[in-house]
Amino acid sequence: MSKVKSLADLRKMKDELQSKVHLREQSDNPEKLVQVKVSMATCGIASGAKEIMNYMIDEMDNQAIEALVTQTGCMGFCHAEPTIEVTLPNNAPIVYGHVDQKRAEEIINKYIIRGELVDGIIPVNYETVKENKND
């Protein structure tokens, strides 16, 4: 590592190093970010949840979307795996089922960026919504 030769140098370095702790900083203030929870139980993994999660992370990173992608356990929608739950800041969470790469792309480009709902929403019961609100 080269020497820090000026304040500008330091600032540049900080920006480059940001990713090291970015995840931790984001996780401390999740409500200000796009939160994506990927259902990652056996059924989800079997139907490709892991690949979807990786795709979401990479794609949003590419598009510089401040998002927090976490995995969660079985959401109970085994019929519609892979399932993801997307929460935009100040919005109620929305669950999408049967998320393949195409749908994921759509979710990012339409819902996350522009707020337009896309196909594949799974109606969630009241309890789930309430629980999430209380988060």
Partner: protein
Amino acid sequence: MAKYKNHVLVCGGTGCRASQGEEIVQNLNQVIEENGIENDVQVVRTGCFGFCEKGPVVKMVPDNTFYVQVKPEDATEIVKEHLVKGRQVERLLFTDPETKERISESKDMGFYKKQIRIALRNCGFINPENIDEYIAREGYAALGKALTEMKPEEVIKEILDSGLRGRGGGGFPTGLKWELTRKVEADQKYVVCNADEGDPGAFMDRSILEGDPHAVLEAMAINGYCTGASIGLIYIRAEYPLAIERLKIAIEQAREYGLLGKDIMGTGFDFDVEMRYGAGAFVCGEETSLIHSMEGLRGEPTVKPPFPSESGYKGKPTNVNNVETYANIPVILLEGAKWFSSIGTEKSKGTKVFALAGKVNNVGLIEVPMGTTLREVIFDIGGGIKDGKGFKAVQTGGPSGGCLTEKHLDIPIDYDNLLACGSMMGSGGMIVMDEDDCMVSMAKFYLDFTVEESCGKCAPCRIGNKRLYEMLDKITEGKGTEEDLGHLRNLSNVIKDTSLCGLGQTSPNPVLSTMENFWDEYVAHVKEDKCPAGQCKSLMQYVISEETCVGCTLCSRVCPVDAITGDKKAPHIINQETCIKCGACYDKCKFAAISIQ
């Protein structure tokens, strides 16, 4: 650079390391590798999370799950369940002692709810052995800003305006101290970091140095820029090997990056830091003693003035601040005096770190805004008194502090309020006592410490504290007289009034404040030969009830000194002369026939 989807933060503070923190890290890494997710998950050793009661602590990022009391063998489950399957390991979650509910995120735990972490901002967050993580958290940006965009006077003004006061105990305005050192002309000046943390039970300085060493180095450099010093010295006790190790790594890394050394950030400012090791003498926390110790002399204080700001290390102007004070500096410069002074009370700004110990449920290191009440600290953060017992008192300010009671619980904690009620802030030790604690014994405990730690230079502290201890010992042995109480008070006052340094000037505080708040307890000891709390062994006796005893002989068999006699199926008797009050009979009796009187 690998982009990790999960960070696993493992507490690497001294406490958690002692309870197998290191093995947890090793096991986690091993299982992660076995499961082939080493490119997705990064295990980070951080500084102390503060929640030592429930250590070792492991925090999962990004979902912020907070696992407590983790054992090395839990690594497999954490990796397989949490990281691979995305399911929380329920049994490792913190259980709220009141609602008995499991809580998964630290921000929902009472222990963390009321805390604001400024001095501890990076502790439990970054890897202290990696300067990159510190820089990513705006590390050294305050130094860069000061050197590049501010005059020394402006930096000092910012510190003054922030209202920051010395966190080592004195509460002297930090900006003023800097200004005093700046004003003195000299060919060489020194910046000293006082890391000789000596209060029993206090460990905030150690935690900061272990968890965020660069913050201290950065602040010292800022001070050097303000006061005109080019050499920084960290006086740290040799009993802090981990803090020393991490400081050494931090200094080395900062030098490599050119953040210490010559021409820092191209501004022409030179500053470097060296370490000095103390042998762990409480009195060396006093700044003149500390300086003498660094000079290779006997660690004993000299009368001030002259203050170190005029004539300190090697006779040169020296700015001495403690670790926690320094840790606040970079944030103040980045966020501004206005922000900092918006936290706290009128005369005490910002936050204070306390080491919460004693009979509370959640023992640990906490940082709260000035003005938080003792009640909030003890009951909300500390989770109340252990085993459902009643609160009796809390000793603040370490051995030099005083003992506060129920009636002080709602006083907002700040420098002046604590002084006004006969205690002090000190370095932030807070020891909670319950109804079973005898206040005379408590005072004796602290005097035992000061007798041990007095440097011996001045007569009142050297001999007076010894005599105080002896009198307290006499009282707890049941041999005290009412006259002793008068002597105790007079001697305490004279020691305070005549001692040379802060140690002796405050050492009788535990005696005076317990006499003030628990006078009846003292009187009971000397007049009625009773210890109301039942702690003083010499003042109690075990007695077997003739009616209840069935003569099972169990007690006489467990008695280690054969003090219990009696025939089978006949009531037994304890010979009080022989009894050593070990309590073995009391514990063993199945018929509750033995009572304490």
